[in-house]
């Protein structure tokens, strides 16, 4: 019996006092593909890096055995480690823009890597670079090899990284969140590419990801990690279809499905019998940036309506203009043209002091839990800000209200004196929601509020938002790139592409029978959790690409 490609026994990694990986053991056979799935803090990235001995010299303490392609990574000397890296096992990183050297052409970089492990002439190395670039689907590879990384798009750059990994024909490819920074359609292409390459070359694959769907599409086995330990391992169909461990089940339950119909909702106490006038109405909104030749139209003739008690989802990839649109809806950005009516009143062109009476009724929940709270103010102070700005000066009343709000979003009111860095990402988002509520808004625009969160936390925050809407009857605009998430929360949905709305309508209609080809493309790109379904989707994507 041949020894496995990867053999990890009792791997433990400590960063100072924090134990990132705790007694992890697994094997990977040659040519097989393993997906390592976990949320943040699960230790999956640290484990992947350990396979190439990347912790050496960093001050991390690594114990246990790691055997990769016959080399004992822990015991290998510098030269041995260098021989392993790239030639036997190659790594693909998450952010291709920062992972490539901006000063050299991609051809040169791949050639350099090739020459580290093969004694060939420069010309031969460059030829090899062009070869692999072509193999990963970069059109006109010979010419493009002379471009620098920033001259490629995000998806192309990731292909370049994959090409670099292929150059020395390694036996194992370790991919650490290779598609997280990419749009969903591009993500699908990259996963398809990996799938193809594996079939052709028989390379083993270790895919690290937080997205269960991504893993389901591309691997044979799944290993679920949590808090540095392995929770469950098995073939994809088994783990996803009939999970044994409670954590796995919880994880899978939290993953939003794009094909799951939204549970029918009982309208909340305030929704019915309200005003006929829509809460917010946008007519032909337009926003341009820059001047002259560099002028860019981020939002182009967008019209939409929102009623009280209803959730409008806006879905789109990067560059679609959805964030710009969101900011215009709350007048953080001024529209270049077009009308915006709030409860019948035109607010598009109101100057700042005309806007003042309504300012607080239009609130926003932001994406980045790190940047959305002032790090030098306590949570309570951040939440109290809108209350103070409204003129309330009685400290007791303020404190009481803040406590109320914190409890409402599921936090401990006694923690109001803690600083943001003492809370987790999910908790910080809740604080942001509490702050938005403190202003007693009628409309909240949520700009990617859960994108930076783990899947289990995501589910909780979404549930919170739904609850609040139900109770308070506010109108919600939910902006996201994740189609599944948007489906879960919205009553109506608008699909955006390059500044325009390509399709709009009730959520079940748009998802069930999409009319616009772009919408169809988007839906086909969403990773499926069922391998059989994944194959079907892959076929659909090929069709659409050929069309």
């Amino acid at each position: 019996m041949t020894s496995p490609l990867v053999r990890v026994e009792d791997l433990t990694i400590d960063f100072g006092k924090v134990r990132a990986v705790d007694g992890l053991s697994f094997t990977l056979e040659a040519g097989a593909a393993l997906g390592v799935v976990g949320e943040s803090g699960s230790g999956k990235s640290a484990s992947a890096s350990a396979l190439l001995g990347l912790h050496r010299g960093t001050g991390a303490r690594v114990t246990g055995t790691v055997h990769v392609a016959g080399t004992d990574v822990g015991a290998a000397d510098e030269a041995g480690l260098r021989a392993l890296r790239g030639a036997e096992a190659a790594m693909i990183f998450q952010d291709p823009l920062s992972s490539l050297d901006p000063y050299y052409t991609v051809g040169d970089q791949i050639a350099e890597v090739y020459r580290v492990h093969n004694r060939v002439s420069r010309r031969a190395a460059r030829a090899r670079a062009v070869e692999v670039l072509d193999r990963v689907g970069i059109p006109d590879a010979a010419r493009r090899a002379r471009f620098r990384p920033h001259e490629f798009s995000g998806g192309m750059r990731q292909r370049v990284l994959i090409a670099m990994a292929l150059a020395c024909e390694p036996r194992l490819i370790v991919a650490d969140e290779p598609t997280t920074a990419l749009d969903v359609t591009v993500q699908a292409q990259i996963l398809d590419l990996l799938h193809e390459l594996r079939r052709e070359t028989g390379t083993g694959l270790l895919l690290v990801t937080h997205d269960v769907g991504v893993a389901a599409e591309s691997v044979d086995d799944i290993l679920v990690m949590r808090h540095g330990r392995a929770v469950e391992r098995g073939p994809v169909a088994e783990v996803l279809g009939a999970p044994r461990e409670p954590y796995t089940r919880e994880l899978l339950a939290s993953v939003p499905r794009v094909d799951a119909k939204r549970a029918s909702r009982v309208p909340g106490p305030r929704a019915a019998g309200g005003e006929d006038v829509p809460l917010l109405e946008a007519v032909g909104l337009r926003r341009e940036f820059g001047r002259g030749a560099g002028r860019v139209t981020a939002v182009d003739e967008v019209s939409l309506t929102l009623h009280a008690g209803e959730t409008l989802g806006i879905v789109g990839e990067s560059g679609s203009g959805k964030t710009t649109l969101g900011r215009m809806l709350v007048r953080l950005l001024d529209p270049t043209a077009g009308g915006l009516r709030y409860r019948g009143r035109d607010i598009a062109s109101l100057p700042e002091n005309g806007l003042r009476p309504f300012r607080r009724e239009l609130q926003m929940v932001f994406q980045d839990p790190v940047a959305s709270l002032n790090p030098r103010r306590s949570a309570g102070e951040s939440v109290a800000d809108p209350i103070r700005a409204a003129g309330e000066t009685d400290e007791g009343r303020i404190r009481a209200r803040v406590g109320e709000l914190l409890e409402r979003v599921g936090l401990d009111a006694g923690h109001h004196e803690r600083y943001p860095h003492e809370f987790s990402g999910g908790q910080r988002q809740r604080i942001g929601i509490a702050r938005a509520l403190a202003a007693e808004p009628k409309l909240i625009v949520c700009d990617e509020p859960v994108s930076a969160l783990d899947v289990t936390t995501q589910a909780q925050v979404i549930a919170l938002l739904a609850e609040l809407q139900h109770e308070l009857g506010i109108g919600l605009v939910f902006i996201a790139h994740d189609l599944a998430v948007v489906r879960q929360v919205s009553d109506r949905v608008a699909v955006m592409r390059q500044g325009r709305i390509v399709e709009q309508g009730p959520v079940d209609e748009v998802y069930g029978s999409p009319r616009d080809p772009y919408t169809r493309q988007l839906l086909a790109a969403v990773p499926a959790l069922d391998p059989a379904l994944a194959a079907v989707r892959r076929a659909t994507r090929r069709e659409l690409a050929a069309a």
Partner: protein
């Protein structure tokens, strides 16, 4: 471009620095041995400067009295006694030719050197913060105008202008104040560039947008959200500016256009010192050594302050193999 340089020097990125109460800051500062030692030295120097008359009285001397009996005028004014006349009466010896007590002169000199540097630094910070903040918060026009003014200020060659100004203003104007004003008024561009860069970066952060949505006006936001976050880089930069100002004053006095005699200043004491190094080495070594120690201590303290205010940047600089950021994410607690 220069912003990038200066911001790098000041170290802290606005949101990356974890919120530190004053307590955290002091704890981190005290944890660095070098910085603590430097702080002690600096404190000592400041105390000596403030208590100059007291110390001089303790030694029983003052900086102005001539003691011609203590120098050998036949030999050109060489102080009598070894090491430049060090003894029980004159702890640091006496000045050649005039016989003035060096201990008193050095101690009073500390007053001048440190005092001028303090005023100059405060001036630079005040002007810098005002201009930088105004440029970042104002309209585009205002930003352009203020940035142009800053550019002109950058182009002013410090030493040269200082020399020119100091030559022209009549000596009736108190010299130390003049020098402090000149240094402070010329070298503020660095602070303003840092403040502007940081304020602009902060302005675009979501929590500032949230404050706008809460109904706060522009100046209220500047005061409540921006100013506290600016404190760190400004303090760091000021801590590093301070020793530079000391050196500039010393240089000006050395050239003879700074503090004019009879007021003692370390730089001025060095003007004639080279001719006396053999017979009265203390006359050279004392002010030179003190200058060196002061600037060194202040620089080490400044670096210590920078590390205490933004430990993440510092740890990256220490380990430097790219794993710093990953560790932070791994420590992120789940709900």
């Amino acid at each position: 471009m220069s912003e990038a340089l200066l911001v790098q020097e000041a170290g802290a990125a606005p949101v990356a620095a974890p919120a530190s109460g004053a307590r955290q800051f002091w704890r981190r500062l005290r944890a660095q041995r070098a910085a603590t030692a430097a702080a002690a030295v600096v404190l000592l120097l400041f105390l000596a400067a403030i208590a100059a008359p007291l110390l001089a009285a303790l030694a029983g001397q003052d900086p102005d009295t001539y003691h011609p009996d203590l120098v050998d005028s036949a030999a050109g004014g060489v102080p009598i006694g070894s090491f430049g006349g060090i003894g029980a009466d004159h702890w640091f010896g006496v000045e050649p030719q005039t016989g003035r007590d060096l201990f008193a002169r050095v101690v009073y000199g500390a007053r001048v050197s440190l005092g001028v540097a303090v005023v100059a630094t405060v001036l630079q910070v005040t002007i810098g913060v005002t201009v930088g903040l105004g440029a970042a918060l104002g309209s585009r026009r205002v930003d352009q105008v203020l940035s142009r003014i800053t550019d002109v200020n950058v182009a002013l060659p410090l030493m040269v202008i200082a020399l020119g100004l100091l030559a022209i203003v009549p000596s009736s104007f108190p010299r130390p104040v003049l020098i402090a004003l000149v240094i402070g008024g010329i070298n503020w561009a660095g602070t303003s560039k840092i403040v502007r860069a940081q304020a602009l970066a902060l302005k675009s952060l979501d929590f500032v947008s949230a404050a706008r949505l809460a109904g706060r006006g522009r100046w209220s936001i500047a005061r409540r959200e921006l100013l506290p976050s600016l404190a760190a880089p400004v303090i760091t930069y000021a801590a590093l500016l301070f020793p530079v100002n000391i050196t500039v004053e010393a240089a000006l006095s050395f050239l003879g256009v700074g503090i004019k005699p009879p007021t003692p200043s370390w730089g001025q004491m060095l003007t004639e010192a080279d001719t006396w190094y053999q017979s009265a080495p203390t006359y050279l070594l004392l002010p030179a050594g003190l200058l060196f120690v002061t600037v060194l201590a202040l620089t080490v303290l400044g670096e210590g302050i920078r590390t205490a205010l933004d430990p993440r940047a510092a740890s990256r600089l220490r380990i430097g193999t790219g794993r710093g950021q990953r560790e932070e994410h791994a420590k992120e607690p789940t709900t």
